[in-house]
Amino acid sequence: MTALLSARDVTMKFGGLTAVNQVSLDVAPGEIVGLIGPNGAGKTTFFNCLTGMYQPTSGEVEFDGQLLPPKPRRVAMAGVARTFQNIRLFQNMTALENVMVGRYARTGTNAIDAVFRLPRHRREETETRRIAEEWLDFVGLGEAADLLSRNMPYGDQRRLEIARALALEPKLLLLDEPTAGMNPQETREAEELITRIRGLGMAILVIEHDMRFIFSLCDRVACLVRGAVLIDGAPETVQNDPRVIEAYIGTPVDVAPSADGEGDSDA
């Protein structure tokens, strides 16, 4: 099986601090991979390296057989879409407009088309609107199309962000804590939504703290601790690995001295 996404020895250093240390990770087409790890383990930094928001200090990322350049736009155009841990919607746009922005990379109207209202503009504009409405329906926000995104409830904003990412028609979707801050009801809905996205054949890489969510949903789970992959395997394996539990709960007091000095200094 050839991997859709393949990160090789990705390392990210900020000054003296190594946030991501030689992480290698593969995602196969149609696979859901969970990325877990305690706070400050470097999960989001790793995401940022994948999507070109950071230029990794070393290592490379291959997607669909091509090396990904460290340019967020090129990554997006290659077919990788993402959501953000702290929702980054276009606050003062309506839900529909947000999703339409997601179509940007898939349309080609240029300034001349737009100024003179040439056929391409008209065609793409209608199409963009139609597709955006479809994705809104898909995530269950069809009724909220004309709401300003800043006025929407928190859970809806998360779903809107996913719809915006989906509008890009990605092959790989990166979700950064899609259920953070949600109540159990919303979490269940999100879970259901992600299952339906998988039904579309998209691969998903998801960061999450909700273990129930991860272990019920993912095909594979990788655990990141202090910037390095601790374990990468089937959910059951990871779930029962003592090191994972230790990483989350902490080392028993009597063994402590071995691991000190490398505290969670990054945030």
Binding site: M53, A81, R82, M93, A105, L148, R150, L168
Partner: protein, 596 residues
């Protein structure tokens, strides 16, 4: 801060009756009669002399023969009286719910206080011009007293219901007629106002216009008009351009106002180009005047002026394209740092670029550099344009009206402005416009969504610069001479201020801002020495209290009030309200509560 002032919400707010009204409401009946008495005073005043000598205002020293300004006061009085008497005349048909189309009480209040302001300003003008209270004649006193009585008395009237005129199903021709009528009124006001030489007459007339708009808004006419305008955009645009096109016809062959009008149009066109950069792409450019200058210098160098340094003068359409292109190339150069630099830094880079442009134009004089611009002498004696046999320098008779040199250029500039507005709105309502909004909102998220951030920023710079370059090419011929000292930082600051004043990202706002900034100094010359001071203070005050401008773009307004959730709700509702009627075809009559 919550009265948004946008077109759609100009209709009276839905807050209940004012507390004072509540307290005095039991005196409503007698108050109405007292107010009517006041209105009669206002109506009588125009037939009396206001001033002792003729030099104040437009000669208000006659008995029985009102001057135009006095007739306007009479009209205000009629409005006031009408609002007061209307409830006696208009009775709901038995068995039907009252239609409550107009809010007459609110209108009466507005008309009364408006009259008071009008008479106060007029009296103040007389007193200032003739020196002393003695100069006031009984007419002025009668008007003041009547308006004061009416103002006090109308306070006791209940606030009443919201006007519902805007939800009335008016036939399309009626709406268009309303728009045309309103636009024609604007034409008349503009022509009349510009015709006033005296600063006091101009100010008094300006106050009248303000009062008129205010009363119309309170009564509910404005709400109807803006709803009609929103539904008939094309008619509005056509009517506005027709009126702008007809404006020179009202000037009776005089070039005096046309010269000012051309200046306003050039300024507005440039500001509109800048609005693409600032208003749409959200990049502050403090050196924008350089693009106008680049266009003007290019056109001057390529003109048939004896001072032109290249000795090559292609036909004007070609020159326009070259001017635009030169400016656009400069725009690309100045825009290229946006790849690495953003925010305040970019603003400073553009400022530095503007200075570099000015100094360079000054230096390309054959001494400190190749002789291209003749340095500080600039390029004078640029001949008038000749397009398809039409000489812009000549006067022409059109429909019996003499159309002079500046009117010719006015029409040309009008076309340029129309082009720029077209580019502006079409870009705004397209994939590109959406990209710009996304960049403004969250640049990194936009990039992660595949928006070509750098490309769109460059497009804004180059496109805006291209349009400014075109405006500059015309300006060179209007001004006859092009010198570097016309393109200083202060001019860039004025352009930014024009946008900020009117409202970033909107067409109407920029037109209003440009008119205010260019017209007022011409008409209020006595004020001249304090112009810059006021300008600076205005910028500070605007940023403090209304950073989104007089006529803001809704989205922009939200950006400036990131923490104001109430405003967001309100505007959110408005946006939905726009969308629903346009989808449903007709407005819903009971969209708003019965007696909110």
């Amino acid at each position: 801060m919550n009265d948004t002032g946008s077109l759609v919400t100009l209709a009276p707010d839905s807050s209940g009756p004012a507390p004072t009204g509540e307290r005095w409401i039991r005196f409503a009946k007698p108050a109405r009669w007292i107010a009517i008495a006041g209105a009669v005073g206002v109506l009588a005043a125009p037939f009396m002399a206001w001033a002792y000598r003729p030099d104040a205002l437009d000669d208000v020293s006659f008995w029985g023969e009102p001057s135009p300004l006095q007739w306007f006061a009479f009209a205000l009085g009629l409005l006031l009286l009408g609002c007061l008497v209307a409830p006696f005349v208009i009775k709901p048909r038995p068995g039907r719910r009252p239609r409550r189309l107009l809010a007459f009480n609110r209108g009466a209040k507005a008309a009364a206080s408006g009259s008071l302001v009008y008479f106060a300003v007029a009296s103040a003008a007389i007193v200032l011009e003739l020196g002393g209270l003695v100069a006031l004649e009984p007419g002025a006193w009668a008007g003041l007293a009547g308006a004061l009585v009416a103002t006090v008395a109308t306070r006791a009237l209940p606030e009443g219901h919201d006007p519902r005129l805007q939800f009335l199903n008016t036939p399309a021709w009626g709406q268009i007629l309303g728009i045309v009528g309103a636009v024609a009124l604007v034409l008349f006001a503009a022509a009349y106002g510009l015709g006033q030489d005296g600063a006091s007459t101009f100010v008094t007339f300006g106050v009248l216009c303000g009062v008129g708009v205010y009363v119309a808004a309170r009564v509910g006419v404005m709400g109807w008009l803006s709803a009609a305008a929103a539904r008939n955009r094309r008619a509005l645009v056509l009517a506005a351009f027709a009126v702008a096109f007809l404006f020179p016809m009202t000037q009776d062959g005089s070039d005096a106002n046309m010269s000012i009008a051309v200046g306003v149009l050039i300024f507005a066109a440039t500001a509109m180009g800048l609005n693409i950069v600032v208003g749409l792409a959200g990049l502050l450019d403090l050196g924008y005047i350089a693009f106008l200058g680049a266009g003007a210098f290019t056109a001057a160098i390529l003109s048939r002026s004896a001072f032109a340094t290249l000795g090559w003068s292609p036909p004007f359409p070609v020159v326009v394209l070259i001017s635009g292109t030169v400016a656009a190339i400069l725009g690309l150069i100045i825009g290229s740092p946006t790849l690495r630099v953003s925010g305040d830094y970019l603003a400073i880079v553009t400022l530095a670029f503007g200075e570099i442009f000015r100094i360079t134009m000054n230096n390309l004089d054959g001494v400190d550099g190749p002789n291209l611009t003749r340095g500080s002498n600039g390029i004078p004696a640029i001949p008038d344009l000749e397009l398809f046999g039409f000489d812009f320098g000549e006067s022409h008779m059109i429909l019996g009206v003499q159309i002079g040199r500046f009117a010719n250029y006015y029409w040309l500039m009008l076309l340029v402005l129309a082009l720029i507005i077209l580019v502006f709105t079409n870009l705004n309502h397209s994939r590109i416009g959406r990209g710009w909004v996304a960049i403004r909102e969250d640049e990194r998220a936009a990039e992660a969504m595949g928006v070509n951030v750098f490309g769109l920023k460059l497009l804004a710079f180059a496109g805006g610069a291209f349009l400014a370059g075109i405006a500059g090419a015309v300006k060179a011929h209007v001004d006859v001479s092009v010198t570097p000292d016309q393109y200083i930082f202060m001019e860039s600051a004025f352009l930014v201020a024009g946008i900020v004043l009117g409202g970033m990202g909107t067409v109407g706002g920029v037109l209003i801002g440009a008119s205010i900034l260019k017209l007022l100094p011409e008409k209020l010359r006595f004020f001249e020495d304090y112009r810059l001071l006021m300008f600076g203070v205005l910028l500070v005050v605007m940023m403090r209290f209304r950073p989104e401008g007089l006529m803001p773009d809704e989205r922009r307004q939200l950006e400036f009030h990131a923490d104001d959730d109430e405003l967001a709700e309100e505007i959110g509702e408005n946006i939905e309200a726009h969308v629903i009627p346009s989808l449903a075809g007709a407005p819903e009559p009971d969209l708003k509560g019965d007696d909110a």
